[in-house]
Structure formats: C-alpha cells, structure tokens
Amino acid sequence: MAKELLKGNVAIAEAAVRAGCEAYFGYPITPQTELLEHMSKRMPELGRVFLQAESEVAAVNMVYGAASAGVRVMTSSSSPGISLMQEGFSYIAGSEVPAVVVDVMRGGPGLGNIQPSQSDYNQVVKQAGHGDFHPIVLAPATVQEAIDLMTLSFDLAEKYRTLVFLVLDGAIGQLMEPAELPPMREMTGLRPSWALTGQDKRRQNGRLPDKNIITSIHMSAEELHIFNVHLQNKLAAIEASEVRYEENFIEDAEIIVVAFGTAGRVASTAVKNLRKANVPVGFFRPITLWPFPEQRLAQLADRAKAFLVVEMNAGQMFHDVREAVGRSVPVEFLGRMGGLMPFTDEIEQEIRTVWRRSEVLALHRQQ
C-alpha cells in the first residue's frame, strides 16, 4: 500500500479498525475527538460496534464489558477523561481482560488547556488506577509509528490479557504526515475460552459447560495475595520481553539525551545538528514507557558522562532515568509545560551546557 497524508488521530483510528477492533466506546474530548469521529463512521459501515457513551466513566465500563466478552475493544480520551477512566482501568487489570486505551495528552492539571503535553506520564505509567498493576504503555513519535504501535497494542493486550495504553501528546494527534496503513486483518469471530459469550457458545458434545465469571474480587487476604503475586509475575514476564526503544549516535556518546514522543522528535533533531558540530551527543527514545528500558540506560551509564532528559512536563520520566542510571552520573532536565514544546535550538543550547559542565566535572575529578 502506498503512503498517504494522514492526520495522527484519524490514522490511529483507521489502524485500530484494520487491526480488527470490533468495538469502540468513547466520549468526545479535545485533542482526540477526530479519533472518535472516524470510528463513528467506520465501525458501523463494517458492521462493528461504535457507541458514544454518556461519560468517560461509562465508556471505560462499556470497554470492560466488551473486553469481558473477549473481543478486540478500545477507547480513546485525553488527560481529564483519562482521570475519569481510572476506575475502569483498575477493574480491567484486576479481571485480566485485554483492552486498549489511546491517551492523546493535553495540559493540566484540572481543565488545563488543549495544547500538547506529556503530563499524564506518571498517571499512566505509575498508577493507572488503584492497586498494584501497570498497563503496557507505548509512546509513538510519528504518525507511522502510531499506526504500527496501534496494531501491536491489540496483539500485546491479547497475548498478556492486559491493559495497553498508546500515549501521545496532542501534537502527534493533530499532525499530518505521510504514512502507510496496514492491510485489513481478517476477522475470525472466535472468542477466547474464558470470555462471556453465554454457555451455549461453548457447548460441546451436548454438555452444559461451566459458567464463565469475570471478576476482580478475592475476598480472603491469602487469595488476593496469591492473585497479586500472579499479576506481578505476569508483569515481570512483560518486563523481560517487551522493552522497546530507539537509539542513535550512542556508541561514542558522552552526553545522552533521553526523550519520548514529540519531545523525542525535537531532541533527535537537536542531536543530529550537534553531531554535525562534532559534539559527542547521543539520542535515546523509550518506545515502551512501561516496561521502561532501564537495563539499556544502565548499560549506557557505564560510559556516558551525563544525561539530559527532555519532556513536555515538569520532569516525570526524569525520575525513571535517574533510577536507571544511578547517582554516579549527572542527570539533568529540560522541560516545558502548559502546552509549550522545547525548540530545537533550546535543546541544543542545553546539551552544550550539560556537556561543558561534564567536562569541568571530569577536569575536577582528574585534579
């Protein structure tokens, strides 16, 4: 298929359709509404389910219901809506049903504004709801990557029976870029054995099958402890095999810039520019925010002199980078909030500052 000019939100919606999304439930909120609008047109014409819910709370619980029935289901929202959906995220995690959420982040807290932001990082990565769980969190930097990760989101959700977040800032949602959509996935109509379908759908040899129950209740402390251990083991398996990242100019880098999403795009340009000026800077972009590529960052910390984290928030991923690289290497931060994005030249200037500071530090250490 040829590349076409696609808007981020629309491309993600169409990618979800082609990945076999059978049901979409959502509520309009800027800057993700085009996603919902595209679904409102495409899903019914393919005989699939689209429903505009009365609230984000209802939308996520509709997702929970359809996920319990074992279909590929998703919702999308933006920061204030994600806050409302947290109840459902926790139940989905507690019931181990697969579901996909797209969060097109805007500025906060509160109503904030509708400008691009990365200020939901902690909310989706650290605490997407009450209880001990993490969703898988994928963060694209381009429209093409958003399309590719949308497909992956459904695959990972099904593979691990887990919640998967595709998070992007409003800039990628609103951006138009040439990109290629995947072919339409063939629909089998098959449901997993655990799904709520009615017992008749699972009947074999005329025998009434056992009922299926989807629940997150474990009343005894021991039982709930055992479930949580099981959940943690599953999360450990995800951490062991699903880490994804991009890196450039890393081999001889003395300064490493870490950024994701749109901040990653801008930082990547800054790094390329400085390489031409012979500044030994490398670029590292986490694609999975959870599981976080902490092992790779720890390896890089063995030879880098300093790290610079660039984000469109007050420094949320910064703490994960700091934890990964330890205290022996300086980790500095450049952030913009409220919908502002760091400019390329600002990042270049900051990289030079961090580089000079690390040189001075190295000089001190030699003396």
């Binding site: 709370v57 209802a58 619980n61 009615g198 209740i217």
Partner: protein, 264 residues
C-alpha cells in the same frame, strides 16, 4: 408389590431447584428477600429456556456475589456501572440475554447516570432493581430511596428531606424515558406479591427477548438486619411503610407487551 405405570405414580414433582440457580448457601442475612428475588429470576430463566444464553452483571453491594448463585455466565461490575458494562457485553453479544441485578445505592445513587442513559438509549437489557431503602452491605446508611424520617447510621435523627431530599422513585422516573418499554414496581413481602413479582420479571425478560428495548422491575425488599427488625416485622414494614411511599404498579408497559398479555 404392585407396579405402577408412570402416569399412575403417586409422587408428582411440583417444586425443584431451578437449573439456573446454583446448589449453594448464600451469604444473605436471615429474612432478607434477595434469596426470593434470586429464585424468581432463576425460575423465569429456566421457564423461558434462556439459561445458556443469559449473562448476569452483578453489582457492588449485598448482591456482589450474585454470580456465585446463578448458573449463567457473569461479570462483576464496578459500583453503579453495571448498566454500562452490560451495554458493552450486549453490544458485542447481541443474541445473548443480559441482565443487571442492582440495589438502590448502586442504581439510584452512584450509578444513576449509567442506568438512566442505558435506559434512554433503549439498550436491550433487563434490570432487576432491589429497593430496600437502605445501604445494606456497608451497614445501614441512608440511600436515595430511604423514607422521610427513616433512621439510618448516617441519618441518626431520621432522614430530613429538607436537606437530603425526598425518596427517589426509580420506576416512575424510568417510565418517562422513551427507550424504556417496561417499568414496573412489585413487592416481595408476601406470597401473592411474590407471584406478581415473578410475572413481572418474566415480562421484563420477554421484552428483551423480543428486542423491544430496556426493561426494569423494581422490587421492594426487606433488610431485617439494617432496619433492626425481625424477619416478620421486616416484611410488615415493607407492606406498611414502603408501599405507601413507593406505590406498586405498572408505570410503563409498551403496547407490544400489552397485546401479548391480553392474548395470554
């Protein structure tokens, strides 16, 4: 020994456990009418022959373990969200029969928006609404359906309507929504009313089976434990105190259901 032909056998089975009801003990308090409501629903599911395509969405509250007591596929919803979860289940399983079982705190308080909007959309769902005018599971706090002057653990001087409002009338309110095809109130306080309640539950499920729209049966129920009454006094309290405030009756019966009832 005289051998009897099958038609001459002296024993005739007139009462047995419905197949849709599990053989197990429930956690409900003595004298609570949840057990009666469960039994009626299970009988209706059996009689309509829909056990294998029925899916229950259980609530938060006293009926939180309802999924253990029915032998049908089931989900456990978040507090008040059963109608939204049921919407998701039904939309992707259009041939199944989906019902929620909700108490007054679940449906009339925290989940009112989900219940009203599912009803307004005319979702093909059946809601069994247990109204006992109190929060049972959390130990007897005031509900939206608590009576004026009713003493609860969070209205120790009696419900004061000037500050906390009048008891909420769900069956009447639902009847005002175009998507609703059946909205009635029944009571579980004596045998005659229990039989009427069963007929209403059956009609509500039939409405869904015919794809007519949203159906809801409000059942006035007892809560001896939190009302501080013995089981007998509790059903008398339903009769004497609740029914005058929550009149029994048909608040909406779609024409398609009325003509069916006239035929039968």
């Amino acid at each position: 020994m005289v051998m009897l032909a099958p038609e001459q056998q002296l024993e005739k089975l007139v009462y047995e456990r419905p197949s849709s009801l599990e053989m197990c003990h429930t956690h409900y308090c003595p004298g609570c009418t949840h057990g009666v409501a469960h039994r009626l629903i299970a009988e209706v599911i059996d009689e309509l022959g829909i056990q294998e395509r029925t899916i229950l969405v259980a609530p938060v509250g006293c009926a939180v373990f309802a999924y253990n007591y029915f032998n049908v596929d089931a989900a456990e919803a978040a507090h008040g969200r059963a109608p939204a979860m049921a919407t998701g289940i039904k939309r992707v399983n259009p041939n199944s029969i989906v019902f929620t079982y909700q108490g007054d705190g679940d449906l009339a308080s925290i989940g009112l928006a989900e219940a009203v909007h599912a009803a307004s959309r005319g979702e093909q769902l059946t809601v069994i609404f247990i109204n006992n005018a109190i929060y049972g599971m959390t130990g007897g706090q005031m509900a939206p359906t608590s009576l004026s002057g009713q003493i609860t653990t969070s209205s120790p001087n009696g419900r004061e309507v000037l500050s906390t409002g009048q008891p909420m009338h769900v069956a009447e309110m639902m009847a005002g929504l175009p998507g609703v095809v059946y909205s009635v109130r029944r009571s579980l306080h004596d045998a005659r009313h229990v039989i009427q309640a069963k007929q209403a539950i059956k009609t509500a499920f039939e409405a869904q089976m015919q794809g007519l729209g949203f159906s809801i049966v409000e059942l006035l129920s007892s809560c001896p434990t939190n009302w501080g009454l013995n089981p007998l006094d509790a059903v008398h309290w339903v009769r004497d105190q609740m029914i005058p405030v929550f009149p029994l009756g048909d608040y909406k019966v779609a024409d398609a259901l009325q003509s069916k009832r006239a035929r039968s």
